[in-house]
């Protein structure tokens, strides 16, 4: 049995075209496996890349962070205000990945 004794749940949402990388699904309710240390956003990025992104992963991550043009929002605030990659996830956090639009 995998080690799934407790859960952190997130509402993760993708918009502005970022959802196209995950088979066009915008909202994901994610249950992350338990681990000894707290889950950080940077761990979540890798987890999403492995488990949710369906195509062209390079259009989601570049290096250890999101590619230029994707804005990460934690509970409706820019992740830069929240510690960026090192933010510790809490139960029921809502994480949004939004790709900037350019059309007009």
């Amino acid at each position: 049995m995998p080690n799934l004794a407790s859960f952190i749940t997130n509402n993760s949402m993708l918009g502005g075209g970022a959802e196209l990388l995950c088979g066009n699904v915008k909202k994901h309710n994610i249950t992350l496996p338990k681990q000894d240390e707290k889950w950080l956003i940077k761990d979540l990025l890798i987890w999403i890349q492995k488990n949710i992104i369906k195509e062209r992963p390079e259009l989601f991550l570049q290096g250890n962070t999101v590619r230029p043009g994707i804005l990460v929002l934690i509970n409706d605030a820019d992740w830069e205000l929240m510690g960026e990659l090192d933010y510790e996830l809490e139960d029921n956090d809502r994480i949004i990945f939004i790709s900037t639009l350019h059309g007009g």
Binding site: G15, G16, G17, P68, D76, I98, L101, H102, G103, G104
Partner: protein
């Protein structure tokens, strides 16, 4: 062509000439201010005329707005960059509100495929400059505003000079390079930038470089990879979506001009038309290390933005040239293949939703290019089965080619490359139709729809 067809053709061309002459007259008739005059400071109005009072009466009686607000609007000059889906609604509301001077920039001309969202243009203005067309429509609603159409591509050589004559700038453009250009120009010139964008069923709105808030570069120091950028002609857009965002841009400009309410500085509005939700999120503050608005800026003049972004400053489609001549056939050559009943497997690589719009007159397999790399095994099985059916001998020797087609002949080339890899062991000839369905419409069947 027989005599009658020629006569019809001539008649059509003559009609077109008449229409173009009329357009030319209309553009000349528009009273436009010579650019030199713009440099002169306009005298500020301090009162409203009797006509102003009746025209704007419904907003004059608004608490917080009043005569003071109306005079502020009258003394404000707004520049709209992009006379498209965002620029049209923004322009008409600013004109209606009585803005002092409205500048409208666009390098492009009106096309039929613009009209579902670019609502100030009209059918009889197809081919006319978009900036002139917008000004023409606004002028009919409110002739007391001063209008300046600019039929040009905004670039590093002219941006600062043009922006100089305006108080508030609206980014209603459709490409990344112009967004960075406008941002840097607004920071250097010290003007607030009201930025809108829309695609598919979504829109976004932010005010940059205003009220101590961040600029576009604070949020996006690096441009996105060009393959991650989708424009309206590729991704599509529901017409009313830019209509809503463009209207909000006009509203923000009026609020900044009059100092009422709070602005979208350091905030991003995300509109999801399908969910019917408007979500406002808090953005980071101005970034101290920002290259243009930070504490030690390194950008003190405008740079080459097409080079910086690795993308053109238009949303026009570029033509790919990847395949060799021997891997491609023209639409004419393909029509001969069909007429001569030469067996082949036609693969339409467009998204399934586009098949309902139009299809070539030959049975086809739909393998959307975007899903090609996901389903390699199924694609291979599907194609080999079809090839076996059509090939004349029983051995593992496929004698018929696979022909790929898409809308304009870009994806079809990429699909040929992928399919050649997938079918490498099976010695199958894979080719594409040069210029895709657009070319079919142009060279083979003029009744075939173009989209």
């Amino acid at each position: 062509m027989n005599e009658e067809q020629l006569r019809n053709e001539l008649q059509n061309k003559e009609k077109e000439i008449q229409r173009l002459k009329k357009l030319l007259d209309e553009s000349a008739k528009l009273l436009t201010v010579p650019e030199n005059d713009l440099q002169k400071q306009k005298e500020k109005s301090e009162t409203l005329s009797k006509e102003d009072i009746s025209r704007y009466s419904r907003q004059l009686i608004l608490h917080d707005f009043g005569v003071k607000g109306q005079i502020a609007v009258k003394n404000t000059n707004v520049l709209i960059v992009g006379a498209g889906g965002l620029g049209c609604p923004a322009a008409i509301y600013l004109a209606a509100a009585g803005i002092g001077r409205l500048g409208v920039i666009d390098y492009d001309e009106v096309e039929l495929s613009n009209l579902h969202r670019q609502i100030l243009h009209t059918v009889d203005r197809v081919g006319l400059s978009k900036s002139v067309s917008v000004v023409h429509s606004c002028c009919r609603l409110n002739p007391s505003t001063e209008y300046v159409p600019y039929h040009l591509q905004l670039d590093s050589s002219n941006a600062l000079r043009i922006i100089e004559s305006y108080d508030i700038i609206l980014d209603a453009t459709d490409n990344v390079a112009t967004r960075y250009l406008l941002n840097d120009a607004c920071v250097l010139a010290g003007k607030p930038l009201v930025s809108g964008s829309a695609l598919r069923f979504e829109g976004q709105l932010t005010v940059y470089h205003h009220d101590g808030g961040p600029c576009y570069r604070c949020l996006y120091p690096q441009p996105p990879p060009s393959e991650a950028v989708t424009n309206c002609s590729e991704g599509g857009v529901l017409g009313v979506v830019p209509g809503i965002i463009g209207s909000l841009q006009a509203l923000e400009a009026i609020k900044i001009a009059t100092g009422i309410g709070t602005s979208f500085s350091q905030k991003l509005l995300m509109f999801d038309a399908l969910d019917g939700t408007f979500r406002t999120v808090k953005l980071r503050p101005r970034c101290k290390s920002c290259l243009v608005c930070g504490e030690n800026p390194t950008i003190s003049q405008l740079i080459d933005y097409e080079q910086f972004c690795g993308a053109k400053a238009t949303d026009k489609d570029h033509k790919l040239h990847i395949l060799e001549r021997s891997q491609r056939i023209s639409a004419k050559e393909y029509s001969e293949m069909v007429n001569n009943k030469k067996p082949h497997v036609l693969v339409d690589v467009r998204p399934a939703i586009e098949l309902d719009i139009c299809q070539l007159p030959h049975p086809m397999i739909n393998i959307p290019f975007t899903s090609l790399s996901r389903n390699i095994t199924e694609v291979k099985d599907q194609l080999l089965l079809k090839l076996k059916e059509l090939s004349s001998d029983d051995f593992h020797n496929y004698t018929v080619p696979v022909v790929c087609v898409c809308r304009r002949g870009n994806d079809s080339q990429l699909a040929v490359q992928q399919l050649m890899k997938i079918l490498a062991d099976d010695k199958v000839k894979v080719i594409d139709i040069k210029g895709g369905l657009h070319s079919w419409s142009k060279h083979v069947d003029s009744n075939f729809p173009i989209y």
